[in-house]
């Protein structure tokens, strides 16, 4: 830990807070520049059965009768205190609705990141150490993975392992196997990005003088990899994974739709379908919060993990991603 670490950490944390607040403002702006007035249109939909008084109460709760800037300020101050508002559809606190589905998405995201790491390291090691036709052939796997839409991976896995092999019932979305394949669907995309970075880093490190010296000392390939190449090649993966959190949260919408899981993604889908704006706004800004916090953590931990990184110029490292 160097002398400049604390100021760096404080500056970085301050930046993160600012970005979170601005991200909330950004989603608010996008959602409230909506042409038309779906909020009151939704409320007046006879199916919802709101009385005029209730509508008036909800409208004044959201301050929809006041200028946009005032609305923004109020929404922002609620957001800061953790009040995410009330659903226009179910009239329940959005925080409760999110709380119900978060565990399922957490499991999905965690499992998919784990699977992605396994896949990525498998591919990267295979590229370096498998014999000739196989190793180099593996090099094109990440770009193949990056060319397949996520929903197709899911459909393919369901087709093969559920309809074909009968390994799990596609209807039972929360069974372990269904969760595994949903996580794999998400993980394939992430693994491709991680594998690309890993392969490039391993290639570069293997060319370094220290690797040559180690080889000249008679170190075998496996030893060389484990003792010398692995650490400098794998550390940047921390940053890549942190950035991938966003992809995972976005991909959850697709994956949960394909596998019929309930989670944050399906909540987004249903709130888009029913124009339930407070829910949509809350989920998206929470996703931004998660993204910013995870990346803050990665940025703060990274200098401690990698002694080559100094915190004097934090921008220099961002280029790795």
């Amino acid at each position: 830990m160097s002398r400049g670490y604390l100021p760096f950490a404080l500056r970085r944390a301050g930046q993160a807070v600012l970005v979170i607040l601005l991200a909330y403002v950004a989603t608010f702006v996008v959602i409230s520049v909506l042409p038309g007035d779906p909020v009151t249109a939704t409320l007046r939909n006879p199916q919802n059965g709101f009385t005029e008084e209730q509508i008036a109460r909800i409208v004044s709760y959201y301050g929809l009768d006041r200028p946009v800037l005032v609305q923004l300020w109020e929404a922002l101050s609620r957001f800061v205190t953790g009040d995410l508002g009330v659903s226009l559809r179910s009239n329940r606190p959005v925080a409760d609705m999110i709380g119900e589905v978060v565990p399922s998405t957490l499991v999905l995201a965690g499992a998919s990141l784990g699977l992605a790491l396994l896949l990525a390291f498998g591919i990267a090691f295979g590229v370096r150490y498998l014999p000739r036709p196989f190793g180099p052939a593996l090099r094109s796997v990440p770009s193949l993975f990056l060319s397949v839409p996520g929903f197709l991976v899911g459909l393919l896995l369901i087709q093969i392992f559920s309809f074909g092999l009968g390994l799990f019932r596609a209807i039972d979305a929360d069974s372990p196997w269904a969760t595994f394949f949903a996580a794999l669907t998400l993980g394939v995309w992430v693994s491709a990005q991680v594998a690309e970075v890993l392969i490039a880093n391993l290639d570069r490190e293997a060319e370094q003088d220290y690797a040559g010296v180690a080889r000249a000392r008679g170190l075998g390939q496996a030893r060389l990899l484990l003792r010398h190449l692995l650490k400098p090649s794998a550390l940047p993966v921390v940053t890549v994974l942190a950035v991938m959190i966003g992809e995972v949260l976005g991909g959850a919408v697709i994956t949960e739709a394909v596998f019929g899981r309930t989670g944050l993604g399906s909540l987004v889908e249903s709130s888009v379908a029913s124009q339930d704006l407070p829910v949509l706004q809350a989920v998206v800004s929470l996703a931004a919060v998660v993204f910013v916090l995870v990346n803050l953590l990665a940025d703060l931990v990274y200098p401690l993990l990698d002694p080559r990184v100094t915190v004097v110029r934090p921008e220099a490292r961002v280029a790795v991603a």
């Binding site: 970005v19 060319s147 949260l249």
Partner: protein, 281 residues
């Protein structure tokens, strides 16, 4: 294992560069992309069958000489539907890239060239765009604008702004520190002329490669949005929508696999071209 200080490029470039040695896979990729673009410009030339009205006596025909990709639940030729869906699937990806390129490029250019307060302000803005997961951002924007393919394209483009801004900013910074830029400023070149004569052309190569890469990504994003039903409703035949509606007929698997294979091959080709551009840089 030799000293690496001599050259910064990876390839051991021979002194006289061979004139356009293009690997065969890249040639194939260019052919695929050209064909797909031709589909989107003139679908009628490639498919004479009607993509909207089906023939009731020919439901669920498997792929054959008459129907290359088979027919669907209304007896419509799936190949015709794929070809006619290309325009909105692929051209809208071009629109998305254009939006990202122009808006993001402008941000990056201003940010890198002027530095200081402009840079700091734009950098925070880009941070915010990066913080909101791009697919969620696209979903929010498309639901705000309305479920249409063109809106999906706009949404995809906006979610790509941050990437372009970042890359262009770093390219501009790189070019700005070059001696010839300093020289032309010292010679009295105006900022604008230096920007357009020197900085922009130097940045264009990596921006081109990024644009091609984003083109592939945009095809995927727009297909995903269409898959969720956020594009034009049927009888439009965006590839993602075709795959999504094909799912309902498990006994006619070609309805999923034909558009799926077309999508994958297209994106693979685009990615291959992007990779090749990066290597030859």
């Amino acid at each position: 294992m030799t000293l690496t200080a001599v050259t910064t490029t990876e390839a051991p470039a021979p002194p006289t560069r061979p004139v356009w040695r293009v690997p065969p896979t890249v040639v194939v990729s260019f052919v695929v992309v050209a064909l797909v673009l031709a589909w989107s410009i003139a679908p009628g030339v490639f498919s004479h069958q009607n993509p909207v009205d089906g023939i009731p006596s020919e439901l669920f025909r498997p792929p054959s000489g008459a129907h290359w990709f088979g027919t669907d639940h209304l007896g419509r030729d799936e190949f015709a539907r794929v070809v006619h869906g290309t325009a909105s699937s692929v051209s809208s990806a071009l629109v998305a890239v254009l939006i990202g390129l122009v808006v993001g490029g402008l941000f990056g250019l201003l940010s890198g060239f002027f530095g200081g307060l402009v840079d700091t302000t734009l950098a925070r803005f880009v941070d915010v765009l990066l913080a909101i997961p791009s697919f969620l951002m696209a979903v929010v924007i498309v639901s705000a604008l309305g479920f249409q393919t063109i809106n999906a394209a706009v949404a995809t483009g906006v979610s790509a702004v941050a990437v372009f801004a970042r890359v262009l900013r770093s390219e501009v910074l790189k070019a700005r520190s070059a001696v010839f830029v300093e020289a032309s400023l010292l010679l009295g070149g105006s900022r604008a002329s230096v920007l357009f004569r020197h900085v922009l052309p130097n940045a264009s190569r990596s921006v081109l490669q990024l644009a091609v890469l984003q083109f592939g990504l945009s095809i995927l994003t727009i297909a995903s949005l269409a898959f969720l039903g956020y594009g034009d409703p049927p009888p439009a035949s965006d590839w993602g929508l075709l795959i999504s509606s094909g799912r309902e007929y498990p006994l006619a698997p070609w309805l999923v696999w034909a558009p799926a294979v077309v999508t994958i091959v297209t994106v693979l080709s685009v990615n291959r071209i992007s990779r090749w551009l990066r290597k030859t840089d």
